[in-house]
């Protein structure tokens, strides 16, 4: 059987992880790749390591004439993998790239939250009209299979409520504040040093990142039609060490929890008190999601919510889903 031809858009951390995961896999061949300034095409298969070495040396992975959008429009591929950084305001340039690929009847797999949070209904409609797959498991909780876990694993169950630790950076900061009596600023600085927090961590610590993921879950799994502005958001930057200590003395922990309750119309991200034996009280950068269901009761998913190879694991699962369904 002929391998699936892949166009890989984005050669950052997740793009490199995808390269690692797909290396040597006979089912897939990367025939096109693009960074933010250039692109490279080779129907026989791209040597991604050489392209990355070139990018490191020159700042470009290939020819500036081949932008990611041009690759989406003109290249010969079966599946487009879009893993560029998130833009939550417009979703661009990823949104146009994804739309174009779907309109050309190409499957799309993405870990980019922006386009999915802003336009999931439209993108899923275009995909259905063109009989192709649009999959986005990596957008929420990295390696944790929450999208397909709810969609297929819990099929038929009404989702009564969902509580999630959806941001590893915040969870790391809260864990360290409690463990080592660090102030918020000290824990954030440590998270930056270890690469768990971005140079500008605003969207993590103010709850926006978790809120975007909540919007994706609400719209794509619960049939809601909500926007980021509909999520009531409170971050962790105002938390004091005393608050974590008081919680601890009373057998509780504080975590940044994304809450979704369709019946009560609750869509919220805020620091919450939880009993220490609650499975959502995870350490470090882990993510955890408890789904309260009609028949199955509460189910909790726990795992690595970010990272290069971890997110690539979700992308690989999406690719194999496409192979099974459309192959």
């Amino acid at each position: 059987m002929k391998p699936w031809k892949i166009a890989l858009i984005g050669l950052g951390s997740v793009g490199r992880g995808v390269g690692k995961v797909l290396k040597g896999d006979p089912r897939f061949i990367i025939v096109a790749a693009a960074d933010s300034k250039s692109g490279i095409l080779d129907p026989a298969g791209i040597d991604l390591e050489a392209a990355l070495a070139m990018k490191k040396k020159t700042g470009l992975c290939g020819d500036p004439a081949w932008s990611s959008f041009r690759i989406a429009c003109e290249a010969d591929y079966d599946i487009l993998i879009e893993v560029t950084p998130t833009n939550v305001v417009t979703g661009e340039p990823a949104l146009s790239t994804i739309k174009t690929a779907l309109q050309r009847s190409k499957h799309v797999v993405t870990s980019n939250k922006g386009p999915v949070a802003l336009a999931s209904n439209e993108l899923l409609r275009i995909a259905a009209e063109n009989n192709v797959g649009f999959l986005y498991e990596g957008t929420v909780a990295g390696a944790v299979p929450i999208i397909r876990g709810i969609q297929y694993g819990l099929a038929g169950n009404k989702i009564k409520a969902l509580y999630g630790v959806l941001n590893g950076t915040c969870n790391y900061i809260l864990t360290r504040m409690k463990e080592e009596d660090l102030t918020y600023e000290q824990a954030l600085s440590e998270a930056r040093d270890l690469g768990y927090a971005e140079a500008n961590p605003t969207s993590d610590v103010n709850g926006t990142d978790a809120a975007i993921k909540l919007v994706i879950i609400a719209n794509t799994l619960l049939g809601m039609n909500v926007k980021l502005a509909d999520v009531k958001c409170t971050g962790i930057s105002e938390l004091t060490v005393d608050a974590l200590k008081m919680a601890d003395e009373n057998g509780r922990s504080i975590r940044l929890i994304a809450t979704l309750n369709p019946e009560k119309n609750i869509l919220e991200v805020s620091p919450r008190l939880l009993s220490q034996d609650n499975p959502l009280v995870v350490s470090g950068t882990l993510n955890a999601i408890t789904v309260e269901t009609e028949y199955a009761g509460p189910i909790t998913f726990i795992g690595r919510g970010a990272g290069s190879v971890e997110t690539a694991s979700a992308i690989l699962a999406d690719l194999l889903f496409i192979e099974e369904k459309y192959g």
Partner: protein, 210 residues
Amino acid sequence: MRILRANDGQCNGTLINHVIYDNPYPFQKEELLITRGICVQKNVRTSLRLELKDKPGQLLAAIEPISKIGANVITISHQRDTKSKTGNLIVNIVISLPEARLPELIDVLRKNEVAVVRIGTEYLTCTKTFILIGHILHTDLTDTVNRIDKKNVAEVTELQLIMPGIAERSTAKLTIKAGGEAEMINAISLLKEIALEKHLLIIDEIGGDL
């Protein structure tokens, strides 16, 4: 320790002439609502501390009369390891039933050799803990507490405050007890309103439906 009624029997929906309380039963007269001569009894939450002999069938001897009399069991706490000084097992039960039926229940329990060692009316059975961060004292703490406190509806029952420095934000642990879920939802809503007005960060607890 009896409630005497002119026309004894079932009180619910029945015309009565008068009600005489022969205390010390721990419930209040306001709980009995009399409308146009019809006595409508409101269920009262009552906590009972029972002591049972450590032998088979004793728990059933305690539970069965409660069920038969039509009381709703709110909570039961029974730990085999916890015993009274006399070696009896201790069971704490919170029930909800019309107050006039309580003496009848106590009589049956005692006939079943279940010792009722404590009876208390539980008005505030729903508890939630919060953490507040901000200038808690300087935004009039008394006002914050007073606005939540409503007798027999919701009350602030515990407050622990840490103030690390004059200009620094303080942190407080606040416990609210309320008469039920509806009352607690109202108290939380009020607390959130106060927090918004006084620029306090409120961290509430995940638990139950609240």
